[in-house]
């Protein structure tokens, strides 16, 4: 890059980043009700509430006044760190800024108010418990503009991932076909995750936030069957050698 200055002169650089953030999506503006539900959650998973940064999502909140200062204070009491608000009207935006936290525009297509949670019907006997199915298998072509993700486990695609498509997984990604789109493994920071594919032509490969663009991929690896993983803090792409017996 020609814009780069001497290393000594640079005090910082701006970098775009995609960090995993928890969104607390409000269905009610009633602080007591939120706190009651929150207390229940804390007893279930206390490890989560260790100054975890959260974004307050308001897209599904019916249009009613919200005491943002009280809400933030309550979240902090429960060792959550509100860092930003997403959605809400102009008054909300102003009070978020006054509280020193950020404001994001609402996420599109999420504006419908939530329905009260319906108690889940007991699963039929033969259905396996949810923990056994944290991964995901997708059969077919992942097309341009489509996004397929496995937020809790591995993702297996039996088919092609076309240019302009994006596949994401908390764990590893396996593509039994050509990988022409973007593949991001270990999206929650799992350094041991990896990407495997039959035919490499990816626009972007990423493991735990370390990425390589198509431009950075050695041309001799294109079209090959490869694995992509972290080796000594470097993203390494290596071709599978044909087995010699």
């Amino acid at each position: 890059m020609s814009l780069e200055l001497d290393a000594e002169q640079v005090a910082f650089t701006f970098k775009g980043g995609m960090l995993p953030l928890t969104v607390i999506e409000l269905a009610s503006g009633n602080i007591e009700r939120i706190e009651a539900q929150l207390s229940g959650k804390i007893s279930q998973s206390p490890a989560f509430f260790q100054h975890t940064p959260v974004v307050i999502g308001l897209e599904r909140l019916p249009d009613e006044p919200l005491a943002l200062d009280q809400l933030c204070a309550m979240l902090r009491r429960h060792r959550l760190l509100p860092v930003a608000v997403r959605g809400g009207n102009d008054a909300i935006k102003q009070s978020a800024w006054a509280l020193g936290i950020g404001w994001f525009p609402p996420q599109e297509g999420r504006a419908q108010p939530v329905v009260e949670p319906v108690p889940v019907a007991p699963l039929p006997e033969e259905a396996p418990p949810l923990e056994l199915r944290s991964g995901r298998i997708f059969r077919g072509t992942v097309r341009s503009g489509q996004q397929v993700s496995a937020p809790r486990g591995d993702l297996v695609v039996v088919g092609a991932v076309n240019a302009g498509a994006e596949i994401l997984a908390a764990g590893s990604i396996h593509v039994y076909g050509p990988l022409r789109g973007r593949a991001l493994a270990g999206i929650h920071g799992d350094q041991d995750a990896a990407v495997f594919c039959h035919e490499l032509d990816a626009e972007l490969l990423s493991v735990a936030g370390n990425y390589k663009r198509l431009e950075d991929i050695p041309p001799d690896l294109l079209g090959k069957s490869v694995q992509v993983r972290m080796v000594e803090d470097q993203l390494e792409i290596s071709a599978f050698e044909p087995l010699r017996v």
Binding site: T141, R143, S144, G145, G159, N162, P178
Partner: protein, 272 residues
């Protein structure tokens, strides 16, 4: 019940309207009562291609907004029996299209016609989404070039998620790939993507391959769908496409480089 076929592509200028007109004409030739609807509100072209631009009085938007009856807006084709055109409005914009209105028009047409061909506008906005929403089958028009293939791929994604059949969990839309402006010479020289590459990326069945042809340009300018020109390669290729749409098995033509004879090389005879 009519079968609703949307002709779509994502990218503009690949030959959607030409193909919609040619396919509708071909279906009518085969004796099927067919109507072709222009969904490109604001940029209507179909009436020009069909050669009926001087006979447009009312249009799709008038019908949707209740300003005219369907029979007032439908234009009967002068050349082929069984073929009608429902033009788009030149003066309104796409916001005038409503999903309820489109459904009502398609339901009414369904009672009288065998095939409804919807000519989608370019892009993935409202007009394009409404054109495909109620479709039973889709013809995805693609040129042998990277950006067109990419856009068609995007369109196929939308067809499998943003349509009535997808939303109601019915049997998915039947998708067909129609490659237009294919020039075997330029594929051989590496200027164009070849047939197999396109098929591999889009991974849907091929319904037809239309060669790049002067006949298409001539047909557009004369307002006569190219299917009428059975002497031309493009006209024959569209006829084959219609036969395949109707379930016939036709071998693929026009995809290989022609060996030019001595005289043709000497005098540079172009293809018709």
């Amino acid at each position: 019940m009519a079968k609703i076929i949307v002709v779509t592509s994502g990218k503009g200028g690949v030959g959607k309207t030409t193909s919609a007109a040619a396919i509708a004409t071909g279906l009518a030739f085969k004796g099927h009562k067919t109507v072709v609807i222009d969904f490109d509100v604001g940029l209507r072209n179909l009436d020009l291609i069909m050669g009926c631009e001087r006979r447009v009085v009312y249009d799709l938007i008038n019908v949707i907004q209740g300003e005219a009856g369907l029979n007032q807006a439908l234009i009967r084709d002068k050349r082929v029996e069984n073929l009608h055109i429902l033009p788009a409005s030149q003066t309104r914009d796409k916001d005038a299209l409503t999903i309820e209105g489109v459904e009502r028009v398609l339901d009414t047409l369904s009672e009288d016609f065998d095939y409804i061909v919807c000519d989608s506008p370019a892009g993935i906005e409202r007009g394009a989404q409404l054109a495909m929403y109620f479709a039973d089958e889709a013809v995805v028009v693609t040129n042998p070039e990277v950006s067109s293939v990419r856009d068609s791929d995007r369109m196929l994604g939308l067809l499998s998620s943003k349509t009535r059949r997808a939303e109601q969990g019915q049997e998915p839309i039947k998708e067909h790939l129609l490659i237009t402006r294919y020039s075997p010479d330029r594929v051989t020289s590496g200027d164009m993507l070849n047939l197999d590459d396109i098929r591999e990326i889009l991974a849907i069945p091929l319904i037809g391959l239309i060669p790049e042809s002067e006949a298409v340009l001539r047909a557009s300018n004369q307002g006569v769908p190219v299917t009428h020109d059975q002497q031309s390669d493009a006209g024959q290729a569209y006829s084959d496409t219609v036969d395949r749409l109707l379930g016939e098995d036709k071998p693929l033509r026009f995809h290989e480089q022609q060996k030019r004879g001595f005289l043709s090389r000497m005098f540079g005879g172009g293809r018709r």
